[in-house]
């Protein structure tokens, strides 16, 4: 479904993504892990078309991405942003935010689709009339996922979807993403610095450092700490709970 070869993305003159290649088949899930500054968010945004690609090729369902008009691309892939507080327009009700993609593509039955999308993320129809400031962080993020589902994309890009949520909302989001994947067979591309989160949601993982993929491994390998590259091992170590130094005398 996605074929990326030697992707290069520049931001402000600097190369942030320096030659990344990967494949993603329909219905598959790939996780990209790395620290802040590794370039993973930039890579995701470039896939979504929010940043220009400076080098390499990117093919979406066989056709080069550049050839795809934004309207067509929006029916193939959608992105769930990290910050639930910023990704919803502060003055639009949930109904309006969800109906927007429908209106843009001139589809019908906006109201039905809206209610269905909300139900798919576990929110009742009464949420349609609320404003973002009347929702909790977890609810906002669910609305963001619902919005991403409105155009029935085949690929869901997720940028640190749980980073801004508390532990309980995180657990709920993980469950939601898992069940959506089961029900709809969507391909997922998940970016996060949280190894445990990624291992819980995807099968294949790529580790990114300084704009390059330094290792690829299975989720099972990651869970058992069976990694080879030193950076991956560092990340695994860092994800272990901090245990404080034994009190000295």
């Amino acid at each position: 479904m996605i074929e990326a070869r030697d992707l290069i993305v520049r931001l402000g003159g600097r190369e942030i993504v320096r030659g990344v290649s990967f494949d993603l088949a329909a219905g598959e899930a790939l996780g990209i892990v790395g620290e802040s500054g590794s370039g993973k968010t930039t890579l995701l945004r470039a896939l979504a078309g929010l940043e220009p690609i400076a080098g390499g090729t990117l093919r979406l369902e066989g056709a080069p991405l550049a050839a795809l008009a934004p309207r067509q691309r929006s029916r193939v892939l959608q992105l769930v942003f990290q910050d639930p507080y910023g990704s919803l327009h502060p003055r639009h009700t949930v109904a309006r935010a969800l109906a927007e993609p429908i209106a843009i593509h001139r589809l019908d039955r906006a109201s039905e689709r809206t209610v269905a999308a909300l139900a798919a993320v576990g929110l009742g129809p009464e949420f349609r009339f609320r404003f973002p400031h009347q929702l909790s962080g977890g609810q906002r993020q669910r609305v963001a996922v619902a919005r991403a589902l409105m155009l029935s994309p085949r690929l869901l890009l997720l940028d640190e979807p749980t980073a801004a949520l508390d532990v309980l909302a995180q657990a709920e989001m993980i469950e939601l993403l898992r069940s959506l994947r089961r029900e709809r067979g969507l391909a997922h591309l998940l970016v996060s610095h949280d190894l445990a989160l990624v291992a819980a949601l995807v099968e294949r993982i790529a580790v990114m450092q300084d704009g390059r993929f330094v290792e690829r491994l299975d989720a099972a390998d990651l869970r058992h700490g069976r990694a080879q590259h030193p950076h991956t091992l560092e990340l695994i170590e860092a994800s272990r709970s901090y245990r404080r130094a034994a009190a000295s005398a």
């Binding site: 949520l165 532990v167 657990a171 445990a196 994800s239 901090y242 245990r243």
Partner: protein, 257 residues
Amino acid sequence: MSALLEIEELRVRFGTHEVLHGISFAMERERLALVGGSGAGKSLIGRSILRLLPPGAAMQARRLAFDGIDIAGADAARMRDLRGRRIGWVLQDPKFSLNPVMTIGAQIEEAFRLHHRISRGAARERALASLEAVRISDPLRVHGLYPHEVSGGMGQRAMIAMMLAPDPDLLIADEPTSALDGSSARQVLAILDDLVARRGMGLLFISHDLDLVAGFCDRVLVIEQGRIVERCAAAALGDAQHPYTRRLLAARPRLQA
């Protein structure tokens, strides 16, 4: 000798809606964690101690005392004296808690000069020393940078350096690592660990991550919907009984199978 912090029947209201329902606990110079989901009210407890509640909030308590000093009835001048000098506060996102138009060095120096009578030269020395103490490898360079020019982890460490300048007795850390990725978070925790131990400070650690505080603090208070539902030693969390605590424990995905 009185406890470092004594709170009895703390209640906070927004208009007629009560959000904290009679919080009571005491702490010595130890590491106490306040854990709960977002909206549980844990940040409000920290803010009540500092008397920095958001507009529209009203607080009342039977007793709210820091080192024997009554906080609930203290006047503004008294609170100004306590805040910063004896009680420090580290927030979640250094982007919002550091002054964006002052260099990091200038802010730390200001913190020193506000609370100690020292010359500008001496303040600069101590600012550089405190940047070193938070394990910033190039203190001279970071001293001259603006908050937006440094990473989240470094900004947070600068924030800690600033808050520890006046040598407070109690540090309230409100989700200090929630905005950081794995290794930055570990670094910040290690620094807090070290500094708190060395200076014999009390640490009130507010977080939504039970797993995180389990390895870091001595005691844990679990808060749900404005009430304390569980009090136990960090080491004994595995035996916790309350369903909410068990939910929190189970919620965090673990890497090891």
